[in-house]
Structure formats: C-alpha cells, structure tokens
C-alpha cells in the first residue's frame, strides 16, 4: 500500500530516486568487486534499505550531522560522502576519506556531515546526543540523525542515549532501520516488544513508525519530524520499517528469507518499485530514468577506478594520528625532552585538591565558551558528590549539566560534542565505574582520531576518582584502573599528587586536543592543602617532577603513592639510603627522559603504584630501565604494586595489599642487600 504519489513534489521524488540509484550502484559495485575476488574486505550489505537515507537527503544539508553503523554505506552515499574517497577507504587506500585507516565500518567525513560510523552495535546513539547537545548549546538549528538497526534496540547504550535525549530535549532523531532481523536472529526471537516506538513514548518523547520502503510516505513523515526537531521540540524516535534483502555479511541474497519470502521482499524493494511508480505517474520517462541510472553507473565506475589506483596505505602512517603529536606515542627508550612549567612566583591561595579542581574548571569555562561539564549529581545541591562543583550550576547554568546515572550516555555525549569542537569535562564518579563506559572511552573516544585519519578528534576530558587507600569503600569503589586505560592507544592520562598539580594538569587536559583522563585519589581530595597558584595555571603533559632529590635509588611513582614514597624516603634516610622520589604526574605521555635521567644518576629504581603490580605500569617502566640502562645499573630495576586481589573491605587487608610506607621501605632495603 503506497501513499498517494501526488503528495510529494515530483522533482523531489525524482531526486530521491537519483540517490537510490546511486546507492544501488555502489552496492552492486562493492558486491561485484567482492564476488569476483577483486576486493577483499568485509561487507554488510544494506540492499533493500536504500529508500530511507535517499528520502531524508533532500531534507538535510551537510551542516546537519549523521552517525551510522557498519551497515551504513547507503547512509553515507546519500549524506554526500564522496564516492572516490568512500571506495578508497573500503579498500584501505591512501585516497580514502580516512586515509585507509578506518575502513568501511569507520567512515568519518565531516565535510558532508557524516561524523562517525561505529562497528559497535548501538554505540552511535550516545555520541549522536553529543553532536546534538553541542548544537543546542550553540543555539543553531542543526539536527543530528543517528542510524542503527532494530538489533541495536537491545543494547544498553541506546536506552541510555534515548533517556538522556528525552530529558535534555536534544535535537536528535533516532533512526531505527527496522529490517526485522538483528544480524542472524529475527524478531520475535530477540525481543517480545510489539514495536520499538513505545520505548520512546515510555521515555517521554515521540516515537513514530513509518514505511521506510515507501519514499513518498517516508519523505513526508520525515519532513514533519525534521522540522519539529529543528524547531527545538526535542528528539523523535523513528521506526523505519524495511527489509534487508542481503545476508548479514558477504554478498548475494538473504538466506534467512525462506521460500517465497525473498520474492515477496524483492517485490517491495524500493529501487525498482520507485522507478516503476515514477513511470506510471508520468513524472519520468523510462529514458530519463535510464539517464539517472547511467550517471550513477558512470560515477561508481569512475570512483572504483580511482580508488584502485590509489596506493594501499603504508607503514609510515602506523603511528600517526594516534595522537595529534606523534611524540606522545610511547616508544621504549625514546627520550622526548619536554620543558617543565616555569617556577611560579605569583599570587597563591590555600586550596585542597577538590577546590583546586573546581578552580581549574571555573577558569577553563571563563577562558573558552566551548568548555562545559557533565556528570552525575554535579548540579547544586550537592554540587558533585566530591564537592568539586559547589555553586557552579548557579553560576554557569546550562554549562554545568547534571546527568542521569548513565556512564555510557555521559561519555558518548562528551565524545560527540567534542567532535564538533566543544571541550567537555565529564566526571565519572569512581574510577571503577569506567567498566560501565569502557566501550565509549576505548572504542570511540580513544580510537576516533586514528580511525578517521585525523579528519576528526576528541578534545574531551574525563575525571575519575579512585577511592582506594581510605578504607571501607570496598572492591567496587577503590580500584586503580589506570593500567586498563594505559593499554588503550589514543588516551592521555594524568594522575596528580598535589592540589597545584591537579589544577595545572587539569587545565592542560581541558585545552588538549586529545581525550584526556585525570585520575584523582580520594586520599588526596580533602586531606592535603597547599598554596595553589591563582588564575590560569597549566602544567605541561608528559613532564615528571623530582619531589625529593636523592643519590642512591629512584622511587618512580604517582598519585597518592607519592606521599607514601616521600615518607618512606625519610625512613630510609635514617638508614643511610638517600632516595630520590620522581613523581610522574602524567602517565601518558610518559616522561622517559626524566625517568632514565634520574636512574642514570642513582643507579637503582623501584616503581611504586597503588594499582595491581601484575601487568601494571611499573612493569613497563622497570623493564625499560633495565633494557636502556643495563650497564649503568647497580641492581635490576623493579616494581612494587598492589597484591593481585580485589581491594578488600577490611582496613587491615587493604592496608597490607597496597604499598605502604613500611612495605616500601622493606622492598628498598632488599634491593640494597
């Protein structure tokens, strides 16, 4: 049953057909290349779903944002991603829109508004919120459309994103392309829901079901929806009913549509069906449509020829685009020299770490209107569970954004807004909760610069608090999670040990162009007060600092273990061992120059951290010292971290399982035996 063709402007329908024809030819071009063996990459065909993006295309411009998934080539073609760069990217070539480093499942082309493509089901929705949030905060009328399949409705990220979009009334459209099957598993095997629109209604905003195979109905429905979202009426969830004619991955026709199902589905296939409707309605002659198809064939042939002539992206690109500055990549023994901050002689004020953090946030917001904060409970009252935001919402209004308890939504919103130049600062209450949003941090924020061939980057900062050391927080609020994050190329990580450094490092993170994580120890949040520089104050990333000079051994450490090591050094001094304490301050970029420089002087090194010793940063540093300074060492460098157990609730166990003054002293003594 098709909507009356008279309800759409004939020229618009012709244009929609032109986009469908382009999509169809791209699909055919890829399948022909794959089945002949000329191309070798994994392809998730979208055959049958062409009408959805083609019908939307006339309603949006390159200024509007789009996020899609690995089965999203049709979305990209209709959004305007250049076909030469699209094919070259799928083939891993230099001419790809992302230098061949992302591939077809990770296309980003900001020039057309195709901002991000994810290969993680459902993960685009939280990021789309961020794009929409940035535009809402800037007061533009741009809309963001995030495409995903019906299978993605099962995943938590989509639910978190929909809830946040509803409560914040974000200008985002959740475009659920419902082809009735999630990869290989059909409805109703994976859900008992009768529809997906009710989920939006349950979260307080509109859910609309449209026939995604009828370009007339779909275009007209989307026109009203896009106008509404553009006007600031909040998000809409669209359930676009369609069918996937191809397999989950590969080429050819679906094996999952049995018997006559495939023939029936093909009869409803919008590409040939729309062609026939245009002829039947007298809008186009067959010859005019042949011309459209021929133009698409020629465009695709030219794009494939161009892409095949582009060089396969070479090894020289391997370490580029991990970070903005290639020197951030840790290379064993490569001693990058970075200048330390000049000695501060100006005005100071007494602050604890939580106050210094607030000062950094406040000054950063003053300095740049793109800076904003989001996190759980950061509004007044209470002004953040750690009091870092006390009074901030009253002062800054919407730039301080208390969120639902939904870490994926928080990190996704930060990531998406950072893609368009915002500088978000997110608070993840406890470092243990990073597990809840690991996908958003590691698969998206951290990898996006690389996957996009540096066409995009993510200048966001995430603060997280480690509760360990205090006692009584238990295994899920006490862990030191930095090693998890250090293993993720693309992130920068700082771990201050003083209020001044918390301020100086945080401001540097906020104005850095890569995703940064500041870990703050609750052992230091309130207990330690000192004179902190007033006004804009920044400490460069990747610069360690000697906190106690010594001659006999270097204790390399960071965070609250600096305090422990300084006390241990005083104990050791009584025994005639003069220890140098080197505070890393930044864990990545790692200051190998100052680490090796100090150990060259002392001849011995022990790396101390509160994180589990096994496979921790200490092992990496100790190994590097042993390899680089083998002939200069008086004893092998070693490492000392927490015992291999979750942090216990018992204070006695916790004290014993993490390095403490007595156990550090004992370890150093052993090294001098």
């Amino acid at each position: 049953m098709s909507t009356d063709i008279k309800s759409i402007d004939p020229g618009t329908l012709k244009e929609i057909y032109r986009q469908m024809s382009r999509i169809r030819e791209v699909d055919k071009g890829i399948q022909a290349g794959l089945s002949s063996g000329k191309f070798m990459f994994t392809y998730w065909p979208m055959t049958g779903q062409e009408a959805i993006p083609a019908s939307i295309a006339p309603l949006i411009s390159s200024e509007d944002h789009m996020v899609t998934i690995y089965r999203g080539i049709h979305d990209q073609v209709a959004k305007g991603v250049p076909l030469k760069g699209l094919f070259a990217e799928a083939l891993g070539r230099e001419g790809g829109v992302n230098k061949g480093k992302g591939g077809s499942p990770h296309i980003s082309d900001p020039s057309s508004g195709s901002m991000l493509t994810t290969a993680i089901v459902g993960a685009g929705a939280p990021i789309a919120n961020g794009l929409a949030l940035a535009e809402k905060m800037r007061g533009t009328d741009k809309v963001t459309i995030v495409n995903f399949g019906d299978g993605a409705t099962s995943i938590g990220a989509v639910h978190e994103a929909m809830n946040l979009a509803g409560v914040w009334k974000l200008p985002v459209i959740f475009m659920c392309q419902n082809n009735l099957i999630g990869e290989y598993t059909p409805i109703p095997e994976y859900t008992a829901s009768k529809n997906f629109t009710d989920r939006a209604e349950a979260l307080g905003f509109r859910g609309v079901r449209l026939n995604g195979n009828d370009p007339v109905e779909f275009h007209n429905g989307m026109k009203e929806i896009i106008d509404s979202v553009r006007s600031g009426n909040g998000p809409v969830f669209v359930e676009a009913m369609t069918l996937r004619l191809g397999p989950h991955a590969g080429v050819g026709w679906s094996h999952l549509l049995k018997g006559e199902e495939l023939q029936e589905a093909k009869a409803d296939w919008p590409v040939p069906a729309t062609r026939q409707r245009l002829i039947d309605a007298g809008i186009c002659t067959a010859e005019e449509l042949d011309d459209i198809d021929s133009a698409a064939v020629a465009e695709v042939a030219e794009a494939i020829e161009w892409a095949m002539s582009s060089e396969v992206t070479g090894e020289d690109e391997m370490l580029l685009d991990v970070y903005g500055d290639p020197d951030t990549v840790p290379k064993r023994g490569q001693r990058v020299k970075r200048d330390a901050e000049p000695e501060y002689t100006g005005e100071t004020k007494t602050m604890a770490m939580f106050e210094a953090v607030q000062d950094a946030l406040d000054l950063s917001m003053q300095a740049d209107e793109n800076v904003y904060c989001l996190g759980e409970d950061i509004g007044d009252d209470p002004g953040g569970v750690f009091k870092c935001f006390k009074g901030m919402q009253s002062k800054w209004g919407e730039r301080i954004r208390p969120t639902p308890i939904a870490e994926q939504a928080i990190i996704g919103a930060a990531t998406g807004s950072a893609l368009v130049g915002m500088r978000p600062v997110a608070e993840i209450m406890f470092a243990d909760f990073v597990g809840v949003c690991m996908d958003q941090i590691t698969n998206h924020a951290a990898k996006q610069r690389y996957m996009s061939g540096a066409t995009t980057h993510v200048p966001m900062t995430v603060r997280m608090i480690a509760g360990g050391g205090i006692g009584g927080f238990g295994a899920q609020h006490s862990q030191s999670t930095e090693a998890l994050l250090l293993h993720q190329p693309g992130l920068k990580i700082v771990y201050p040990s003083t209020p001044t450094e918390a301020k100086g490092l945080l401001m540097s993170c906020i104005f850095d162009d890569d995703p940064c994580i500041q870990m703050e120890s609750m052992m230091l949040t309130y207990a330690l007060k000192e004179e902190v520089p007033v006004g804009d104050y920044r400490i460069p990333l990747g610069v360690a600092k000697v906190k106690r000079e010594g001659t006999d051994i270097t204790l390399v450490t960071y965070g609250w273990q600096v305090m422990q090591c300084l006390q241990a050094a005083e104990e050791l001094a009584k025994e005639g061992i003069n220890a140098e304490v080197l505070d890393l301050r930044t864990l990545l970029p790692l200051d190998y120059d100052r680490i090796l420089g100090s150990v060259e002087k002392t001849g011995r090194a022990l790396v101390v951290h509160a994180a589990v010793e096994f496979c921790g940063l200490g092992s990496e540093i100790a190994s590097t010292i042993n390899e680089e300074l083998f002939t200069k060492l008086k004893a092998p460098a070693s490492r000392f971290g927490a015992a291999y157990a979750p942090i216990a609730y018992s204070k006695t166990i916790e004290t014993a399982q993490v390095p403490n003054v007595a156990s550090i002293v004992a370890r150093v003594r052993e090294m001098f035996k």
């Binding site: 063996g37 000329k38 070798m40 991955a249």
Partner: protein, 76 residues
C-alpha cells in the same frame, strides 16, 4: 577489458572455497548479475553472480577446493 574471477573472501573466517559447480558453460556469454558458479564455504553454498557481461572462460575445474584469491575464471 577483462574481469578476473578469483575465489572471494566473503566471510571474515574464509581462507578457501570450493568451486562446487559451473552454472554456465566455458565460452558461453553471460549477462551482468547472472549466476555463474556455486561457491561452497564452511558456512553455506552461494551462487556467485557475474560481475560483468561478456564471454565466460573457465580456468579451474569444478568440484575442487581453492585458496582465497585463486583465479578460477575470467569474463572477457
């Protein structure tokens, strides 16, 4: 311009494929999109369609398994 036909890599796990059956005789003309041979992999049997129109030249026999990338025919 001729189009080479090689055993395709259609699944991430594919390393080889069996040319189960030629559906078009050696030397016959094929239309673009016409099924030309059956490919059997560990997952399924699939009809592979001609990526271009022209005369099909068989270069390998049916019933054998070949590594991904092996040229099995050509459309000239």
């Amino acid at each position: 311009m001729s189009t080479s036909l090689t055993i395709p890599k259609l699944q991430m796990s594919s390393t080889e494929g069996t040319l189960a059956e030629w559906l078009v005789d050696d030397g016959a003309n094929v239309e673009e999109g016409q099924p030309i041979y059956c490919l059997e992999t560990d997952k399924s049997v699939q009809e592979i369609e001609a990526p271009a129109a022209g005369k099909l030249v068989h270069k390998q026999a049916a019933g054998e398994t070949y590594p991904v990338g092996t040229e099995i025919g050509e459309i000239v």
